[in-house]
Each structure stands twice: as C-alpha cells, then as structure tokens.
C-alpha cells in the first residue's frame, strides 16, 4: 500500500475517516452493518446507491458516504 492510499480520507456520516474499503459493500462489512436487515440505505456524494450496486460501487478519496436507517419517527 502506498503512502498516498494510507493517507486517503473520506467522509462517513459527516466524519472524516481513513479510506480502507474498496467498495461500498466492503465498507458496510468493515463497519459491521447488518445488511440483511431491512430499512438501510446508502448515499454516495449526495446520490442514493441501490442495494444491488453496493458490491460494485468503488470508493475514492474525498468521497462522502451516508449510511442511514429507518428509525422511529413522527
């Protein structure tokens, strides 16, 4: 791994983090998100990524990822 990739950062739910996952699916696995549950959605750089595209969606330094869940609400 080069120095550049070691220092690569991305934003996850509003926090800067080192980028170690290659794809959205890898990121979800890294974060131990139970993707078998319903009610989860992901946006990359302000656009929703459908579940079927998580394994093939590459992550790049500077990307902004939102992982959300349906929760109780009024």
């Amino acid at each position: 791994m080069t120095q550049a990739t070691l220092n690569a950062q991305f934003r996850l739910n509003g926090q800067d983090e080192p980028l170690t996952a290659a794809t959205l699916a890898a990121l979800l696995a890294e974060k131990a998100v139970d993707t078998g549950q319903k009610g989860i959605a992901v946006a990359l750089n302000g656009a929703v990524v459908p579940r079927a595209e998580w394994p093939t969606t590459q992550l790049h330094p500077g990307d902004s990822v939102e992982i959300v869940r349906a929760r109780q609400g009024g």
């Binding site: 996850l12 739910n13 509003g14 974060k31 131990a32 998100v33 549950q37 319903k38 009610g39 989860i40 959605a41 992901v42 946006a43 302000g46 656009a47 929703v48 459908p50 579940r51 939102e66 992982i67 959300v68 869940r69 349906a70 929760r71 109780q72 609400g73 009024g74």
Partner: protein, 256 residues
C-alpha cells in the same frame, strides 16, 4: 358502513395515521399501533449508529402496515429530497411525508422550500404528503404542485395544544382538491374528533399517544375520536343558534 379513505389510489379503512417515536418501550409502541387500528405509521431516516446499537424499525412493524417515512429535521428542499430518496431505498415505498423546517425551535414549515421539494419529488414519482401551515393558499399551491394530500398543522409539533385555528382548517378542507390530513398539535381524543368534524380526511399524530400516561389506552381513544368525528361529519351536525330550541313537545304541558 364502508367509508374508505383513498390517497393516491391506496385505500385505507382507518383514518388515523400514527407516529412511532417516543414511546416508553418497543412493546408499548407496537401495542399502541395495534390499538390505534392504524394502517400507516411514520418513520424517520437517520444516520446509522456505527456502534451497532440501532433497532431496526422496518423489521418490527407488522407487514400489513404501510410506512410513511418523513423528512423531519430537514431545513432545505435539497436535504428533504435526498432524505426522501434514501427513505424510498430503505423502506421500499415511494410515499413520503415532506417536512422542511424553517425554524428549529418552532419546527414551523418553510413554505417556499416545501413547495420546491414537493414539485421535485412529484416529478421523481413520489407520493408526496407535505406537512404545512394551515393556510388555504399554501395548501392549494401544494395540491397544484402535485401533493397527494396536504397535512396542515393543528398547532406546533408536540405541543398538544389541539387545533389553534379551527376556522382555517375548515376552510382548507372545504377548498382542497386533495385529502386533508390534520398533522401535529393533537393533544387528546376530542382534538382528533374535532379535526374530523371540520372535514379532515384523516389525522396524523404521535406525541399525544406516545407520551400519554397510558399510550395504548390513548391510542384506543384516538381511534374512537377519529371514528366518532368522521361519523358526526357524515351525519351532518345541527346549525348553531343563539337561543333555546325546546326538544320536548310544546303542547299538552301539565297545568296549562
């Protein structure tokens, strides 16, 4: 009596929509949903807890109950649109309660952003139910923008103050080309009944049930309030008059 509510082609037997937030625990929430008879409950969309301590609402609610995800807390049309799109992906529904807040303390709707978000989401194929002010002009503009129903506030969210301006709600109902759902401010069952008597098609409430001393009993009371108010509306109330009108016969009085 068959009196279904139809919004965007979906038929509801219950005219009460219930929020899922703020209950003492999960069991009381689920029991309240059941007691309310609601066929659609609201949900919010929030960043996942990476500590893994989230509960999956989508897996808790019975399958035969629809979700109405909201965009609560959004302050711009842009954020509301992305939240709606995430909700569609997360919950598999194109229905959305659009909330765009213009004042963080009052949680009062920002009408300009709300209309923008409604237009954009209708164009993207959403069934849009906007939470809005009880203003007949705003409600008409939202209907013109393609809203499937309008959801004017009774009073501020969570206030329990009931319907601050019943005359305006009545006017909105009389003039709206789409169903009117009274949203926010309901405190107790008589408020829900009044909303229906004024001509609302349905009521959406949360805090009045979730924070009641006995939420499940209040859910039952709200169901009865909505059903009573709807029946009274259909029955047609008597006009209000400023003098007495005897109900007993005026002939054959004893002693005359």
């Amino acid at each position: 009596m068959s009196d279904p509510l139809i919004i965007a082609g979906r038929e509801f037997r219950s005219r009460l929509f219930l929020g899922t937030a703020g209950y003492p625990n999960r069991k009381i929430m689920l029991d309240s949903v059941a007691a309310s008879g609601s066929e659609m409950v609201t949900a919010s969309i929030r960043r996942i807890s990476l500590a893994g301590d989230d509960e999956s609402l989508a897996d808790l609610i019975p399958k035969d109950i629809h979700f109405l995800p909201n965009t609560a807390g959004c302050q711009t049309a842009k954020d509301a649109i992305l939240t709606a799109e995430l909700a569609r992906e997360a919950l598999g529904t194109n229905w959305v309660k659009i909330e765009v807040i213009g004042d963080r303390e009052l949680l009062y709707p920002d009408t300009d952003e709300l209309i923008k978000a409604t237009e954009a989401l209708v164009a993207k194929g959403f069934v849009v139910l906007p939470y809005c002010t009880e203003d007949p002009v705003v409600c008409r503009k939202l209907a013109d923008a393609g809203a499937a129903a309008v959801m004017p506030l009774g009073s501020l969210i969570g206030s329990g103050l009931g319907i601050s301006n019943p005359h305006l709600i009545e006017l909105v109902c009389a003039r709206s080309p789409v169903p009117v759902v009274l949203d926010a401010g309901i405190g107790t069952a008589s408020d829900a009944a009044l909303a229906m008597e004024l001509g609302c098609s349905a009521v959406l409430l949360n805090t009045a049930v979730s924070k009641a001393q006995d939420p499940v009993l209040m859910a039952k009371a709200m169901r009865a309030g909505v059903e009573g108010g709807r029946a009274a509306r259909l029955a047609g109330r008597i006009p209000k008059i400023a003098h007495a009108e005897p109900s007993s016969p005026q002939f054959g009085l004893v002693g005359t």
